[in-house]
Structures are given as C-alpha cells and as structure tokens.
C-alpha cells in the first residue's frame, strides 16, 4: 500500500523515526506554534499538535496542524473522544484528510474534571479503540460508523494511537495494544518512558507475540524541566512511572535541566537497542526548544540518515 505521509514512508523505509510534540497556545495568536515549528524544522519526521490536552482549552489541533503544514513540516493531528461525538469526529477526519493532514492520532482524552472547564459535559460517545476502528472503516470500506456510504472521497489516514506500558494491571497492557492494532492502529506513541526495565519487559512481550511486525512503536521521551515538573509528573499526572533512582538523580543535581538532558539521552540510546522499537516520540512539555539538542546528541531523525 502506498504511504499517505512522510511518516509512514519513514517507517516503510525502515528508518528510526522521530516525532515531536508542539503544544498549541491558549489563544488565537498562532505565532507560538510558528516559532516552535521553525525552531524544530528538520529535526523530526512529524509533529503532534495536541487536542485540548489535560482538558484545557487551546487552539484546535487541526488548525495547529495547518500552521505546522504551512511551515513545510508534517503534522500529526490528534483527536480525542471527550469533546466530540462520532458525528463530529468522523467529520473532522474527513476535514483533516481534505486539508492534506493524513497522520491522525486517536485518543480517549483526559477527563474534563482535570481541566479548566470542570463543569463541562464529557461526551465519551465512543472510546479510542472504537474511534480507531471507525477511522479504518472510513478509509478502507468507505462507510461511516452507521454503515451509511461515503460519497466523494474516502479519507487517507495513517492511523496512530497511544499506549501506556506502565499502567496497571500490567499483564493486560499488551492485550489492549493488540486490540488497538486489530482495530487498525498503524503506529503507537507510548507514555513517557523513565522505567526502562518495565518498558523492556513490555517490548519483549510485544516481540514474542509478533506485534512489532504489525505496528510501529515510538517510545515516549520527556525531559523534565524543573523540580516543580518532576513533582507534578511523579505525584499528580496519572499513569506516569518515574523510578525513585531517576527522581533522586534529578533532585540531587545542581542543574536539573542538564541532568534531565543526560537522562533523556541515555534513555534514547538504550531504547534504540530494544528490539521492535521503531522510533522516539519527544514530548518536551513547555520546553520544546530542548528538542534539537537531544536530537543532535543522539543523532536520530531525518538530519542523520
């Protein structure tokens, strides 16, 4: 099958892919996206634009994706199930494809109670697995979820999903990944990896079950910018697993940012050696400018092929 995006082409060519996250602004001024994009130009194969992440209202993912695309960079649009029902989501899939945005990452989304509009009604008409299956059905069968037929153009989609190897119960995490793959997921971005032992164990189960042949896994990397962020990630962000050893290294360091970069570099080097991993996904939350350093020092991504 012909790739629908550069990212898909990268995987097809067996290159080790790099994706990076760009958080859209809390406002209508696109300059911060344009600035972040120009800073990151050429360092990654594609760039995620988050969809009202942590349930805080921001410039929409699709609009952000277009700003990125206008910088001659390839976006990954994100779509969550919290704010839109199956009608709106299918409409946005068609819309994204029509605008030439073909990498789409489907998530359930953080609960609205955690964001800046806790009184909002959460939609959750469908979940991420169902959204993945619907996207595949639109693309491959040309029918909507209701079985009504698509007229005038099936969407082209490279289907992405997320997975958290560190969430409990641990022994069903690969089952759930398999479910997403069967539904149609073609690439997976994982929760930030800090616990390399657990990540290795998860990958081992994936390769034993042959799932690495069916999906491209990008390991999540998050450099921790400050003590405040370390504390937040350790104790307040659900599903993040930072081992005590790494936390202590960061805490006791004179320069937490330098230490965070060292740790991220070590993690990338180790992850590159793990069988079945096809790339790295960097989400440097409010610290995008550090991404070029990480790329230069680990020599991954399009610049180093």
């Amino acid at each position: 099958m012909k790739p629908v995006s550069q990212l898909q082409q990268t995987f097809d060519s067996k290159h080790f892919a790099v994706t990076a996250e760009i958080g859209p602004p809390k406002g209508a001024d696109p300059m911060s996206i344009v600035q972040k994009a120009s800073m990151l130009h050429g360092y990654a194969d594609a760039y995620n634009i988050t969809d009202n992440q942590t349930a805080v209202v921001r410039l929409s993912s699709l609009a952000g994706a277009i700003h990125v695309k206008n910088q001659q960079m390839e976006p990954i649009v994100q779509m969550g199930c919290r704010d839109r029902n199956r009608i709106a989501l299918q409409s946005d899939i068609l819309g994204a494809s029509s605008l030439g945005v073909h990498n789409m990452l489907f998530v359930t989304g953080d609960h609205q109670s955690k964001g800046n509009h806790p009184m909002a009604k959460g939609v959750f008409d469908i979940d991420s697995v169902q959204l993945i299956a619907i996207a595949r059905q639109l693309r491959d069968d040309g029918v909507f979820q209701s079985k009504d037929e698509i007229k005038r153009g099936k969407p082209s989609i490279f289907i992405g999903a997320v997975e958290n190897p560190f969430a409990t119960p641990l022994d069903i995490r690969v089952d759930r990944l398999e479910k997403k793959i069967k539904a149609g997921a073609q690439f997976i971005q994982t929760q930030s990896v800090f616990n390399i032992d657990r990540f290795t164990e998860w990958m081992q189960e994936i390769t034993e079950r042959g799932l690495d042949k069916q999906v491209h896994i990008l390991a999540g990397i998050t450099p921790i910018k400050s003590h405040r962020m370390l504390n937040r990630m350790r104790f307040h962000v659900p599903g993040v697993d930072i081992p005590d050893e790494i936390a202590q290294q960061l805490e006791s360091s004179q320069d937490i940012q330098a230490k965070a970069i060292d740790i991220s570099i070590d993690l990338i080097q180790e992850i590159k050696q793990i069988k079945g991993v096809h790339g790295i996904h960097i989400s440097a939350i409010f610290w995008e400018k550090i991404i070029p350093d990480l790329i230069k020092q680990t020599r991954i991504g399009p610049k180093y092929r």
Partner: protein, 222 residues
C-alpha cells in the same frame, strides 16, 4: 406500606439550605417528602422534612404543613391523598418537594396552580454502600451490556464509559477521576482472572447504541 431494606434506588442530595431559602423566601410553603429513595438517602424523610420546616419557619417562612408521600412518584397514592391535604395546601403559595426529579414532576402534575420548588438534586441510580456513601450502578442507557463484563457496568462506573479496557490512568486500582472510586476495569480484571471467559481486554466492543438513552417516550408492546 414502606418497602424495607431497599438498597438500590435513585440517589439524591439535598440542595443547600441557603438555596432553598432563596427560592421560598417571601412565600408560604407546603413541603412534601418521600418515603422511599429520598428517605433512604436522608434527603426527604420525616426527619429531614421536619428539620427543614423548622429551619424555614425560623427564617420567617410560613410553612402551612408537610407530608411524606408513599412514595412521591406514586401518582395514584398522591391522588387518593389529595382531599385530606387540600386545606393546608391551599394556604401555600408554593410546594417544596424533597424527592427525586421524577417525584417533583408527579407532584407538579397534580398541583398545576402552585409554584413547585425542588429541594433535592437527583444524582443517579445506585446503591447505598454504607452510611453516607452511594455508588452509581446504572446509567439507564437503554442498551444493557452489563452481562458482558461480569455484571460490572463500565458505562455507569467508568467516568469515560470505556468499553474496551482501562484508560491507563488508574493508580493502585483507584480511578484517576474520583479519589475513592475503585477502577471498574480493575474489578473486571479481577473477575476475568478468577472466573475466566472471553478476554475483555482483547475482545472488541463496538460503539454503543445510545439511541434508547435519548428516548423521551416509550410505549411497551401489548
């Protein structure tokens, strides 16, 4: 004829006294409680209704009378009682109903000339786990899937209604959204390990049919 030991019911919580007072201040009021769910939840039983009547009187509101309906949602019973209530009721400008939203509307259908005020917020269909603690069990969604999950409903008991496995945010079996809520998917996991059956973490559940949950009218087949 109160049913005893009803543990499953419509769960309600009382609106704040300040809110209720602001709605009835300057009017005379008659109060209805409910012998069933609202009594069990302590939001509209005799004790709560008497206490509220005293508090309102203390604030200068004229309370012309009160009655615990058996129960508030029983239209027939209420109709039968009507003649005995009319005198007190006719002296009141408004009726304060300490029942669920259904009870409030049954009362209002019989007293079209009174202003109707709800004293409770209706939360969900659930059970009383222990004193002052209630759990949602059913969302009345109109398309029951609970038998596919060891009779643990992910639509009612997962804040994201996830049908295809947990979200990845629970910690030590506790939901990321509510700090005392056990993750229903952890509970399903335990049942799957103990009882076996088809793996709910691999078996795909298609999108739910919400069309019945949107129904306003329903006519049962004869």
């Amino acid at each position: 004829m109160t049913l005893c030991h009803v543990s499953s019911m419509i769960i309600s919580k009382q609106k704040s006294f300040q809110h209720i007072l602001s709605r009835v201040k300057g009017y005379s009021v008659y109060i209805f409680g409910c012998s069933e769910c609202a009594t069990m939840c302590r939001t509209g039983g005799e004790h709560e209704v008497k206490k509220l009547a005293d508090q309102l009187a203390h604030e200068g509101v004229i309370v012309t009378g009160w009655k615990i309906l058996e129960p508030a949602c029983n239209h027939m019973n209420l109709k039968r009682l009507l003649p005995t209530l009319l005198q007190d009721m006719n002296q009141a400008d408004c009726i304060l109903v300490m029942a669920c939203g259904d009870g409030v509307q049954v009362v209002s259908s019989l007293f079209p000339s009174h202003r109707i005020i709800s004293g409770n917020d209706t939360l969900f269909l659930g059970v009383k786990e222990k004193i002052n603690q209630y759990t949602r069990k059913c969302n009345l969604c109109g398309d029951c899937v609970v038998d596919q999950f060891y009779a643990l409903c992910p639509i009612a008991r997962c804040p994201k209604h996830l049908l295809n496995g947990p979200c990845g945010g629970s910690e030590q079996g506790i939901c990321e959204v509510e700090s005392n809520l056990p993750c229903v998917w952890e509970q399903i996991y335990v049942q799957f390990k103990e009882r076996g059956g088809e793996n709910p973490f691999i078996k795909y559940q298609p999108p739910h049919d919400w069309s019945q949950s949107e129904r306003i009218l329903y006519e049962a087949k004869k």
